[in-house]
Symmetry: C2
Subunit: 281 residues, 2 copies
């Protein structure tokens, strides 16, 4: 997905939020906003948003000197998600369609996103998403490909959401590889976060090799790229991965909640809609 | 009121919205956003937000070549407000406290603001505001000063809202001067808009002499300043005027709806609260 004009002010808000989480020094935050404002003219509009996100969050690290500003928030979100895990498993077991319910739960976890300009309440949003209609639901394609697949590559998105991903991975009953960001960026899931979420019990965890808040193939390492092209099935969670991969040339399933108008328009759905979208199947 | 860090990304959104209203040429809009992004580093944080607004909307005019992008929207809002006028007059006549009801109506009109990042529905917001509790209500001070006053200076805010102002001015029963922006900026009320709203029937209309979307005394002309300091009572409508005058050294009544968090925090109220606040009385 290309960068839209609406993304530009949003990058400024992201810099402000990341600056505030990193430091109380208003001068440093002002310097960061000035710097990001000055960068806008050099951002090619055919960049995907996470490519620009990568540049901006590098600037956050450089100016504030803080490597992982969302560390404590990520830990708290993982803890809260883990406390919900037993209840969510019961919901899956009690449902008529375990796989579809697990998909809903995984999408519900996608509200735990500190990149977009939204406040969230995990429990309330979860209850809502469990009842919500899908705006796009390519479930048959998902089941067909899953039945044939031996290997599944699952692209993680946010820390905390990762616990909800575990529930879906357990329902896939396949050899799953779970890909994480190489270093902390926003509240995206890293190797440590994935292990804290218990994903090492159900999947092999690999780094995508990138610090971008989304999957940009040009920035990923060879191990990841090999898995990406050789996996029988790829499941991509969240907005950042969608933004990076929406025009990719292999079959793929996007699971996400459209949390901003730009993504919603790109997907031709409404803001806050939930989506299971297949491409190239 | 000083510029807060949160104002900076908001300026970018304002540039984007004004750019879009002015032109369909995405390259021009991108150029405008780049230019505003580049300006941020030169904005002193002790500027009031409308001082910066003035600079930004000059840039909108310069880059898009459009002098009054909100012209048609302003005309439509005035037309809609005029169609509500008879109904609103009935509400005033039927109320227990005509002055307070007229104040509420004038504040309800304050939702017609295309500077802030909010969509509005005049009729729905009006109904809500008529029932809403005030977060700050210095009504006794207002009545006391009004009773003694011979001359009232009323600082207009947005076009359309101006019709609602007329209803309050009619209840004041004083010699009222209504001050407008010197040239079009966002959807702020100008001389033409004020006349289209029927304000010439109830007040003398003067220009503040400024193109800023708020009252910045340093930018106002002498005629305005004389009225400002000599008026027995000054009523200031809306956010832009509050931002410019919140620290001024004369008695003043602010009537507004707090439409963004920054203003709400500055006033120590909640977002969407309504306020009648006296200073220096």
């Amino acid at each position: 997905m290309k960068t839209y004009l609406d993304c530009l002010p949003c990058f400024m808000y992201q810099a402000l939020r990341a600056g505030r989480v990193s430091t109380d020094d208003e001068n440093k935050i002002k310097h960061l906003i000035d710097s990001v404002g000055n960068m806008l003219k050099d951002i090619p509009m055919d960049n995907t948003p996470p490519e620009t996100g990568d540049i901006i969050y590098r600037e956050v690290r450089k100016i504030t000197g803080v490597y992982d500003p969302y560390k404590k928030i990520k830990e708290a979100n993982i803890k809260e998600a883990l406390s919900l895990y037993p209840k969510l498993k019961k919901i899956v077991y009690a449902s008529d369609n375990r796989l579809l319910t697990a998909i809903r739960i995984a999408i519900a976890g996608n509200v735990i996103d500190l990149g977009v300009n939204k406040e969230f309440n995990i429990i309330k949003d979860l209850e809502k998403t469990l009842k919500q209609d899908f705006a796009i639901l390519h479930f048959n394609e998902f089941v067909t490909q899953l039945e044939k697949a031996k290997s599944v590559l699952y692209l993680g998105d946010n820390a905390g959401e990762s616990v909800f991903d575990k529930i879906l991975i357990e329902e896939l009953e396949k050899a799953v590889t779970y890909a994480v960001r190489d270093i902390p960026v926003i509240n995206d899931v890293t190797l440590k976060d994935a292990i804290d979420s218990g994903l090492d019990e159900v999947a092999e965890i690999i780094s995508s090799g990138t610090s971008a808040p989304g999957t940009i193939l040009d920035l990923c390492n060879n191990t990841f790229l090999e898995r990406f092209y050789r996996a029988d099935m790829v499941i991509s969670k969240g907005q950042g991965n969608y933004e990076g991969l929406s025009n990719v040339d292999r079959s793929l399933f996007f699971l996400l909640k459209a949390k901003c108008k730009v993504i919603a328009n790109d997907l031709k759905v409404q803001e806050n809609d939930i989506v299971l979208k297949a491409i190239n199947t």
